[in-house]
């Protein structure tokens, strides 16, 4: 894993960031190493590993290149896990082997222009039409946009307001009516395409409905729980890279106590975040409740990544702020993590709700 990350992914990181290009070679190498199917059971062509191994894989990738890490993370967790958790045997047989091999890249389409943290208010529709459904709407901030062979799309099937009317669908990227809208220029994660997914009279057979009608919100929330473990891994990787690079620079140019103390605080925070993330993964892989822990891990590790990346840049000084320096890239990359897969404000709501419920 480390060999792949350091040998193949890392040398591409600066270029991918500079040119805003998809790291094809890195994703291919990750697929060859079996990473795209790390969570998929062996009978469907995957590695059959658990959440902890998954978190560590994403951490290693992100230490080299945060863009590559999020591409693989979104594919592996929210882009694939819904099928693992809610798919029929037929659906698993049909989709998982190709997702495991990397032939298909997965993506997750929940967010809409007017429905972010309030996911239950989404307005994309799925109308019954004979044996299938017709989907209409616009999804936004979709990671792996244009690259994905399969999108897990959430749409409203029922008249019910809010969560109860939402259903999940598996929509191949080449389905007629599926179009890539605007692809965004972002502050960071330049190698990972993010943009709009436009659905115009997209016909989806019933066989592609994931779970029951009205179960979509549950599918989304459960997928996000483990998605948060992946994002925690990504945060740990960025943070660890920032610590290691700051350390390397200090050893090279000499250091005083002010920077020593900053480095000590950075490393301590990363260690605490790592243990929190691993514990959430450990609970997840044992089938125990882990929603609160996953939110805590996501909140703490991404806040840590942001702080540590800023501190490392401060230690590096002018040279670190120059375009092309890993220090400034880590700062730009880290910021996204506090926002996506549930902003850190949403994580606090999840945690507080659980605390107040627990009594």
């Amino acid at each position: 894993m480390r060999e792949l990350a350091q040998g193949v992914v890392l040398p591409l990181a600066a270029e991918v960031d500079r040119d805003h290009r998809f790291p094809d070679e890195a994703v291919r190498a990750a697929a060859e190493a079996g990473l795209m199917g790390v969570l998929i059971p062996r009978e469907y062509g995957g590695a059959g590993l658990g959440a902890l191994a998954f978190a560590i894989c994403i951490e290693e990738l992100a230490q080299a290149c945060a863009s590559t890490a999020v591409i693989v993370d979104v594919h592996t967790s929210v882009g694939t896990e819904p099928i693992l958790l809610f798919g029929s045997e037929e659906q698993k047989m049909r989709w998982l082997p190709r997702l495991a091999s990397g032939e298909l890249l997965g993506a997750f389409a929940l967010t809409e222009p007017a429905s972010g943290s309030d996911a239950a208010s989404l307005t994309t529709t799925a109308r019954r039409n004979g044996d299938g459904y017709v989907l209409n709407g616009t999804k936004v901030f979709i990671t792996n946009i244009g690259r994905a062979g399969m999108y897990v799309v959430f749409a409203r099937t029922g008249p019910e307001d809010k969560a109860a009317g939402i259903t999940a669908f598996l929509v191949p990227g080449d389905t007629s009516g599926v179009r890539v809208g605007q692809v965004f220029d972002k502050m960071g994660l330049h190698g990972s395409p993010t943009g709009e997914l436009v659905l115009e009279d997209v016909s989806v057979p019933e066989a592609n409905r994931l779970g029951a009608e009205g179960q979509g919100f549950t599918v989304a929330m459960r997928a996000l729980d483990s998605g948060r473990i992946g994002i925690s891994g990504q945060a740990l990787g960025i943070a660890q890279a920032a610590v290691d690079e700051a350390r390397g620079l200090m050893l090279e140019r000499g250091h005083e106590q002010g920077d020593d103390f900053a480095l000590a605080d950075m490393a301590t925070r990363v260690e605490s975040a790592r243990l929190l993330a691993y514990q959430a993964a450990w609970l997840c892989s044992r089938g125990r409740p882990f929603t609160r822990q996953a939110s805590m891990a996501k909140l703490h590790s991404t806040d840590t990544a942001m702080q540590v990346a800023l501190d490392a840049l401060q230690i590096a000084g002018d040279g670190g702020a120059r375009a092309g320096s890993p220090f400034e890239r880590h700062v730009r990359d880290a910021k996204a993590l506090q926002i996506y897969e549930g902003s850190n404000q949403v994580q606090r709501i999840v945690i507080a709700r659980d605390l107040l419920k627990a009594g």
Partner: protein
Amino acid sequence: MDFEFTAEQVAIRDTIRELVQDRVAPRAAEIDQSGEYPKDIEKLFAENGILGIPFPEEYGGISGSSVTICMGIEEIAKACASSSLILAVQALGSYPILVAGTEEQKKRLCPPLAAGEKVAAYALSEPGSGSDAGAMTTRAKKYGSEYVLNGTKQFITHGSIAGTLVVFAQTNASDDHRGIAAFVLERESSPWKVEKLEHKLGIRGSPTAQIVLEDVKVPAANRLGDEGAGFKLALAVLDRSRPGIGAQALGIAEGAFAYALNYVKERKQFGQAIASFQGIQFMLADIATQIEAARHLVFQAATKVDAKAPDLTKIAAMAKLFASDMAMRVTTDCVQLLGGYGYISDYPVERMMRDAKITQIYEGTNQIQRVVIARALLR
């Protein structure tokens, strides 16, 4: 990687938890207000085997595991930080014997400590030698089969009530860390003088003494390790005891948070429980997350003590640093959550905030922890 305690550890924790709820928690406010050492709690801990936790069975104890010690300290500190030091300092004062003692010394010195018949203490700091422990001036001069000790030791937790005191002193003229040795003083045969007891911001039920040694005779058989090996031993002991201070900080924070969480659910303003306000909820989420992060570092460090892991020094310093800074922040926030009631001594959180402060200072200030961590990182 395991995130679970053994069944035995859980059983010990539950026993302590119950005992603390029934017997310690009701005494905590009074202990703080009177500033008196709770001899009754010491006795309670002795009778229930809690003071035997730091010792393996062959020396009269019940465990010897740092994880178990930390669990015990955490549970007690949830209710009363002063009382948690009864266990924490029993461990600190005994570690030098367990780490550097000969089999004969361990067999002779540990059983009374494990049984709680004697209180242990640890005397390293001096008025002019705090973070710079190598600069100590207490002297130990050898005359035949005994040493004679002279000097002053500062901020000695339980120095006034201890029966067994581990003292670090210079044995040669070089006056730096290479001349230090450790000695076990037993009060009956090597009596020391308590010069004064400090008045403190917090942990008021835990006596902190200045100790004066005037021609105190100690048998050479009570020297721990070689002459000159004392400084290394002092540091090795701190590596083992720092997770315990992290556990104390953790317990204090948890105690304050449990109280505050309950309070915000009950307290009504503007016609609703203040827990329904998002500003309050976000504070709760951050507090709980910080506590959880600290808990993992503390028990990771304790696990590394038990495993004698090579990176123990770094992780132990991280656990102490992170948990104590966390406890200070969290207890301050808990006072805030209670508003005016948080500031008055009818409610426990102001005591917990005062108690938290010391965890950032003792067993190596958090500045020293950062020095230790940075040194490990930049090696």
